[in-house]
Structure formats: structure tokens, C-alpha cells
């Protein structure tokens, strides 16, 4: 059975995945996607790049004179490399939980919406209003009006196992 998994096979499989993901956003069926969808495509393939990482990748992918589109021929080798080198590794449930715990300086076991908002909209690579609103709508416990981050993390990562 091990024969099946020679390097060539892996590369072909990988490229098939990339091609499928690319096609979903190739609305005109002409092997190009809008550059603004690149982040979504890369992330949907299982990578966790930061915004800065994405900017760098996009800079690489764009044409000399930016058209607003990225061609598949350019995207494929770049993306193959990213996947084969396993760049931008997934963030595990544990790691995520730890991150929330760090923010919970007073060790309350929960976070106030304002606290989390402050951190996420002002630190790191800040969230937009839309992003923070969406996250809060899922994260805030409606009765207690706090974020029970332990539950939140389990619930969100439950989806991952599908």
C-alpha cells in the first residue's frame, strides 16, 4: 500500500486540491480569480497565514501591472510550495485556549465583550467592525453577556472535525 504514496502522487493530489479550491472562485471559468479571494482560498486549504503573510504572498502573485486578478498558472506553484512545506501551520485547540487565557489577565474564566473587543480591534492585526461584530455574535453568552471562552473554543473547533 505504501507504493501509492510516492512523492509524485502526493504532489498530484495536492495540486488537485488546489485546483478545486481555485475553481470555486473562478467565476468566469477562465482560470483567474479576484485577488481579494486569494486569502480565502489559501485558508480554505488548511493554512493559517497572518494578514502580513498574505500581503507578501499576493505581492508575489500579482502581475507586473496589477490587474486585480491572479492567474492559476502563477497561483499553482506558489500554493503547492506552501502546502508541501506546511507553512502557516494550523492553530490547535489548546493553543487557542491558551491565547484566550492570556487575555484573561484576572483569570476570571471568561472575558467581557469590551475587553475582547479592545484587544482584537486595537492589537495585532486589528479586526474590522464587521469581524468583531460577527465573532461576538457567536461568542457572547446571551444570558450572562460574557464570553465563556472555553466553551466557545470547543464549539468552534468541533466544526473542524467534520
Amino acid at each position: 500500500m505504501a507504493d501509492k504514496y510516492n512523492a509524485e502522487n502526493i504532489i498530484t493530489e495536492t495540486q488537485k486540491r488546489i485546483s478545486n479550491a481555485f475553481d470555486v472562485f473562478d467565476h468566469e471559468s477562465n482560470k483567474t480569480v479576484d485577488v481579494r479571494e486569494i486569502g480565502t482560498i489559501i485558508r480554505s486549504l488548511g493554512c493559517f497565514p497572518s494578514e502580513t503573510d498574505l500581503h507578501d504572498i499576493i505581492a508575489e502573485l500579482e502581475e507586473e501591472e496589477p490587474t486585480g486578478f491572479v492567474r492559476y498558472e502563477k497561483f499553482l506553484p506558489t500554493m503547492t510550495k506552501i502546502l508541501l512545506e506546511r507553512k502557516f501551520r494550523p492553530i490547535t485547540e489548546d493553543l487557542l485556549l491558551q491565547a484566550f487565557e492570556v487575555l484573561d489577565q484576572q483569570k476570571k474564566g471568561h472575558l467581557e465583550p469590551e475587553e475582547l473587543t479592545k484587544y482584537l480591534t486595537q492589537e495585532g492585526e486589528p479586526f474590522t467592525q464587521e469581524e468583531i461584530d460577527e465573532m461576538l455574535s457567536a461568542a457572547v453568552d446571551p444570558d450572562k453577556n460574557v464570553i465563556l471562552y472555553k466553551d466557545f473554543v470547543s464549539m468552534m473547533t468541533f466544526d473542524d472535525t467534520r
Partner: protein, 712 residues
């Protein structure tokens, strides 16, 4: 930034904290952001896939339906002179319309219909006033039903009005007015009400254009029509209705409008539908604003010529799925073959058979004994008699030129109602829809320039945001039915266009509950529907799938690699979907070494439970595959709309359909099938029950399948 004022019992981040935010905290924030954005991206991918699924299934369903046309044509060529078959076919096309409009008006008369005292719905008096129309809208908002008498009265007046209108309405913004343009509504009354709420009712100061597809799919199609027609009667110069491809009684048989009307109006539904058939054929085809902006439902082709369209008799085009209406003979446009795919060479046999058929029609239609005299002119009467005696003069029957003209006109209309834009240059037949074409940016430029127009506004395709530009901004799609595929699937939109002719968009989404769902919940929900629909498609192609899988499994291990699975599925279904991405949702059994057991998988797809007593499973599968078309055909046969068809009718239909489809089914198998579908054991088949057999199981399956609600 300073201190944020928060509630006293909550944490304040003091100013000094900001500068001194610990490195771990900063890293933590970064990590959470990075994680969350990945999560949202995956949701977006799922949402896009779901969307693609719905679209491709929808279009393939429509293509399937248009192929009914081929079946009808096949029938015309192949039915034998045996009484039963001839009757069946004439039954299907029974409405050959030998009567004049005046006759029909008498037939549709509402005056004898009494409104009982117990009726609590709205009352209409004519001429309509703004307050009575407002009352009507309010009544519908409160889920009331308009009495059949008023419906027929309103529709009758609408028909009269529409017959006075030209094929293309020319509208002027007159240097100060803004025109509102709405796209497909598809029976979503809530969306229409939302538009009126946000934008105001139509009036002389607030003109509206409604760009077709008012009915089908949604459950309040008749209400939408009544409201639109009421406003049309109130403001005939300021409300403009364009015909859509769903303003077609045969399409309605399949997509729900016929059923809705018959359900809501059990006594007069038939009459209402017949009158609507005429109204639909009289709806104008396009609207032009300030001679610069063209609005029509589907699109254009390289042959589109507004001058031809202006001059033709639009009401002869009753349905995309029926031959052109002519006084007497049936005439099928020859070149329309190219639009509709393979195998149609009807013209010869039709004109040959015509006189015989006509005689039968007139005999069967010696209806309405009180309307024996048809009130034709003497000349027309003579022409009829000559035709009946088989002594038609050349000037009587359809000349070759007439047929040629018919073909051209037919194509003009089908193209504007059914076409879709594409990104590549050129113009190709629209295989997906089965009618009209795909047209490219070069065609847009050529056609618009030729007519000195600057913008084409069309509808016909659902768009995520309710609207979308293409072809360098010269084509604009506007779609006004929000949540079209399922709750949360898309927004609706409408356009406001002023004298500067620059479109401004307003978006909306009906149903408060949509907005309350988180992104995750609404994606999940729509996704479940999409996958349900997809599983049904897969089930319908069970045998073909297994055959295809076996090609990749020469040693009959029962296993197939994921790669081959994806290739095989696409080959059979031709939906153009990313099967590998979808696999995790469709294949439950865990894969070992990247292979899956396809027999197991296919058997899990089983939608129909064995307790329907249909033993012959391959027959069952074929039946399932064509059940939507079968429903359409049954409803056409059931001319008295009783909901029942006889065994004999079922037998004949199925036999004809299966020979057309080239499937091999014995007479006995069909008889057994008919008997097992006769749930009431009374010698007739209830169409609704027949369709229920499939729906019931879907629900049961959905119940079994639905995942437990996530903790929220």
C-alpha cells in the same frame, strides 16, 4: 486613546495599559485573529460551494424541463392512430384556442360568481382607487385571500389593458423622475412588501418596472400578480411589467404556480389559470428608458433586433414549450432546432397531420353550448370550412414564408426570455437552460451600439448581493427575491434610475430571523439543504454511477480511490461541481487508505423506502429521475384539474415517455407500477399522492440526517 467609560462593575483598560501591553497578550491577540480569519474563510468556501450546488441543480432542472419540448414533439411524430394515444396527445395540447377573444371574455365572466356573506377578505370595486389597492396589499399582508370573483374581475381588466400595449414600452424620466426597477420576485410577497416599504408604492411620481418572473417557487405568486396588476390598472403609464420565462403556463406546471392557484381556488382555479395564460402571452417583452437603457428579463443574442420584436404578435407565443399558436394548424419553427438541441425535424409531419387533428379539436371543443356560434366574420367562417374539408387554398395555410418568419420571431422571444451572459466573446446555445443562448461582451457591445443604447438591465439569475454588473458595466443583473435558494442564501436588490441614468442600488433581505442567525448558522443551514438536493441528484443516477465506478474497479474489490470517485461522479452528473471539496459532506463512511466502498455509499443514498411496494428498483430509479417532468405531463393530461389520471392515461404516458427516453420497460412492468402507485386502490392515480411518495421520504431522511443543534 484615553479611558473607555464602561459599566462600573466591568474592567477598564487604563491608558497606560495600552502602551504597556505585554508581549504575550499581543501575541495572543494575533493568534486569535489569525485563527478566526481562517475559520471565516472556511465558512466562505462552504457558502460558495453551497451556492454553486444550488445553481447547477437549478439550471440542470430547467434544462431537463425544456427537454419536455422534445418529448412533446416526439409525441406528435410518433403517436399512432390508435384512439387512446391520439386522445392523449390532443388532451395534452387540447387548448388549441379556436375561439375569439370575445368568446373567451364571456367564458371568464365573473358576474355570476357570488361573494358569500361569510367572506371576510377584501372587496374590490372598479375603477380601482389607491385606497382600495392599499387595502388589498394590507389584506395580503394579513394572509387573506381575494375572492375568485374579484380575482377574475381584476384579471379580466388587466387582460383588456395589456392587449392595448405595445411589445416594447418606451419610458421617459422626463428630466426629473426616478424610476425603480425590480428583478425576479418568484412568489416572495414578503420581498415585494419590503420594497414598497422602503421605496414607496408605485405612483405617477414614482414609476416602477418589474422585470418578469413574478411567479413560481415562492408560495404567494398569485398575490404578487394581483398586487402588480392592481397597480398596473391604477397607473397604466407608470407601472411597467416585462414578461419573464416563468410567465409561461407549462413552466408553471413544474415550478409550483399551477399548484398554488389550484390549491387556493378550488372551484375557479382552472378558469383563473386559463385567463392568466392569456395575460402572460400579452405581457410586454421589454422596456426602454430614455431610449438609452434596455430592460428585459433574460438577455440578448447576436440576432436580437428590437425592430423585429416591436412588430411581431407577441400573444402568439404562449409557451416556450409548445409549438407556436396559429389559427388551425400547428407550426413548429424549424430552425429552433438549433436552440433546443438534438433531434427535431417536425415541420413536415405536422402540417400534414393538421386538418385531421383540427377536426377532432373542434369536436372535442364543442363546449359551452351557449356559445355555439363563434361570431366570426363570413370570410373567416368560409376559410374554416374549406380547411375542414381539406380544400384549403394556398393563401389559407401556412406558407413557407410564414414558417420562416415564425422561426425568426420565435427565436427573438426565446432569446430575450431565456439567455444568460458569459464572459467569453461569442454567442452559443444555452445548453444548461435548454433555451436561449449564452452571449458575450462583444455581442453586448454590438447589439447595444446598433440600437444606440448604453445599458442592458436584465434579471433571470440569482445573485448573492441581489445585483451584479458584467460586460464592462454594460450589463446589469437585478434580482429581487431574497433567500431564494434557502434562508440566508442571498440578498435581494432593486435599482433607482434617475435622468442621469446611473443606477443606484438598494439591497434587502426578508425575514428577521435571517439577520439573527450567525454567519455560521446560516451557512450551515443553507448547506444542509444544498446537500440534500445533491443527494437526490446522486440517487437519481444510481445505476449510472455504479457502472462508472465499476470501470475503475476491474477487480471488483468494491473499492475506489477518492480521485476516481470524483472523476466518475462528475462524468455522470455533469454538474461541474468540485467533488473533492464536497466529498467530506457526501461520503460518511471513513476512508481507509484514501479509498471508499462505493457500493455501500450508493446504497446509503437511497431516498425511496421499499414500503412504496414498488419492487422493480431500476424502474423506480428511472421514475424518480424523471418525476418532475412526469408531474408536468400528468398535470397537462389532467385537463379538468381533478388531480387524478386514469390507469390508461398513466400507461400511455409512461410508455411514450420511456420509448422517447429509450429505456426498456415491458407493459407488465408499467401495469404493475400503475397498480402499486394507486394508493387508494380505486383505479386512478392521484398525482399529488404520486409526488408525495418521493417527498415523504425526503422529509424522513432529513429528520434522520439532521445533526444535533450546536450549543449556542
Amino acid at each position: 486613546m484615553g479611558c473607555r467609560v464602561t459599566k462600573s462593575n466591568q474592567v477598564q483598560l487604563k491608558p497606560c495599559d495600552r502602551g504597556n501591553i505585554s508581549v504575550p497578550a499581543m501575541r495572543a491577540a494575533l493568534l486569535i485573529q489569525r485563527w478566526y480569519r481562517q475559520y471565516v474563510a472556511r465558512l466562505e468556501m462552504r457558502r460558495r460551494c453551497t451556492w454553486n450546488i444550488f445553481q447547477s441543480i437549478e439550471y440542470s432542472g430547467q434544462q431537463d424541463h425544456i427537454k419536455l419540448y422534445n418529448f412533446f414533439s416526439y409525441l406528435m411524430d410518433h403517436f399512432s392512430s390508435a384512439n387512446s394515444q391520439r386522445n392523449l396527445v390532443s388532451q395534452m395540447f387540447g387548448e388549441s384556442d379556436p375561439f375569439q377573444d370575445a368568446e373567451w371574455e364571456k367564458h371568464f365572466c365573473y358576474k355570476d360568481i357570488e361573494v358569500p356573506d361569510v367572506y371576510t377578505g377584501p372587496h374590490l370595486s372598479f375603477p380601482l382607487t389607491i385606497s382600495s389597492v392599499t387595502e388589498l396589499v394590507d389584506a395580503f399582508k394579513n394572509k387573506q385571500k381575494l375572492h375568485a370573483r374579484y380575482v377574475l374581475q381584476l384579471l379580466g381588466k388587466t387582460w383588456t389593458l395589456l392587449r392595448l400595449m405595445p411589445n416594447i414600452s418606451h419610458v421617459c424620466t422626463c428630466k426629473h423622475k426616478e424610476i425603480t426597477i425590480c428583478g425576479d420576485l418568484h412568489g416572495h410577497l414578503e420581498d415585494l412588501l419590503l420594497i414598497f416599504y422602503k421605496n414607496g408604492f408605485p405612483s405617477a411620481e414614482a414609476p416602477y418596472v418589474f422585470n418578469g418572473d413574478f411567479v413560481d417557487r415562492g408560495k404567494e405568486s398569485i398575490e404578487i400578480l394581483l398586487v402588480l396588476f392592481a397597480f398596473l390598472l391604477l397607473y397604466p403609464h407608470d407601472v411597467h411589467l416585462n414578461r419573464g420565462n416563468h410567465e409561461d403556463h407549462i413552466v408553471n406546471l413544474r415550478y409550483g404556480f399551477t399548484k398554488e392557484v389550484l390549491g387556493k381556488y378550488q372551484v375557479h382555479g382552472k378558469m383563473i389559470l386559463k385567463l392568466l395564460q392569456k395575460i402572460f402571452s400579452w405581457l410586454p417583452l421589454a422596456t426602454v428608458i430614455d431610449q438609452k437603457v434596455l430592460i428585459l428579463h433574460g438577455g440578448i443574442s447576436d440576432k436580437t433586433d428590437l425592430n423585429v420584436i416591436t412588430k411581431l404578435d407577441r400573444h402568439r407565443f404562449v409557451s416556450a414549450l409548445r409549438p407556436l399558436k396559429r389559427r388551425g394548424a400547428w407550426a413548429t419553427p424549424k430552425e429552433a432546432d438549433d436552440d433546443f438541441g438534438s433531434g427535431r425535424r417536425r415541420v413536415q409531419s405536422l402540417t400534414h397531420g393538421a386538418p385531421l387533428r383540427l377536426r377532432q379539436e373542434l369536436q372535442r371543443h364543442s363546449v359551452h353550448s351557449e356559445s355555439g356560434r363563434t361570431g366570426r366574420s363570413v370570410e373567416e367562417e368560409l376559410r374554416e370550412r374549406r380547411r375542414l374539408a381539406g380544400l384549403s387554398l394556398p393563401s389559407d395555410s401556412d406558407s413557407a414564408e410564414d414558417l420562416e418568419a415564425d422561426t425568426v420571431e420565435w427565436k427573438q422571444i426565446v432569446d430575450i426570455l431565456w439567455s444568460d451572459p458569459m464572459s467569453q466573446n461569442g454567442c452559443v446555445p444555452n445548453e444548461v437552460r435548454g433555451g436561449g443562448c449564452y452571449w458575450g461582451p462583444d455581442v453586448t457591445q454590438e447589439v447595444l451600439d446598433r440600437h444606440k443604447l448604453q445599458l442592458l438591465i436584465r434579471s433571470h439569475e440569482c445573485k448573492q448581493e441581489g445585483y451584479e454588473f458584467c460586460h464592462n458595466g454594460r450589463v446589469l443583473t437585478i434580482f429581487s427575491a431574497s433567500n431564494y435558494y434557502d434562508v440566508g442564501s442571498n440578498r435581494g436588490a432593486y435599482i433607482r434610475l434617475g435622468p442621469d441614468l446611473i443606477p443606484h442600488f438598494k439591497q434587502f433581505q426578508a425575514s428577521r430571523s435571517t439577520r439573527e442567525l450567525t454567519l455560521r448558522q446560516s451557512v450551515g443551514r443553507t448547506e444542509r439543504s444544498a446537500f440534500q438536493a445533491l443527494r437526490m441528484q446522486l440517487f437519481a443516477h444510481k445505476s449510472a454511477l455504479i457502472r462508472e465506478f465499476q470501470e475503475y474497479d476491474p477487480q471488483c474489490t468494491g473499492l475506489i480511490s477518492v480521485k476516481h470517485w470524483a472523476v466518475a461522479v462528475e462524468k455522470v452528473l455533469c454538474l461541474g461541481l468540485p467533488w473533492r471539496v464536497l466529498r467530506s459532506q457526501l461520503v460518511n463512511s471513513s476512508t481507509q487508505d484514501g479509498t471508499l466502498n462505493y457500493q455501500d455509499w450508493v446504497s446509503q443514498l437511497s431516498v425511496i423506502q421499499p414500503n412504496t411496494e414498488i419492487a422493480n428498483t431500476s424502474l423506480l430509479e428511472t421514475l424518480y429521475k424523471h418525476h418532475s417532468n412526469l408531474e408536468s405531463i400528468f398535470r397537462m393530461i389532467d385537463t379538468d384539474h381533478s388531480g387524478l389520471i386514469s390507469f390508461e392515461e398513466f400507461h400511455q404516458t409512461w410508455k411514450l415517455l420511456s420509448s422517447h427516453l429509450q429505456t426498456d420497460i415491458s407493459d407488465k412492468a408499467i401495469s404493475d407500477l400503475a397498480e402499486s402507485i394507486d394508493f387508494n386502490k380505486d383505479g386512478s392515480i392521484d398525482i399529488n399522492e404520486f409526488m408525495e411518495a418521493f417527498r415523504l421520504v425526503e422529509h424522513r431522511r432529513a429528520e434522520m440526517e439532521a445533526p444535533p443543534p450546536p450549543p449556542e
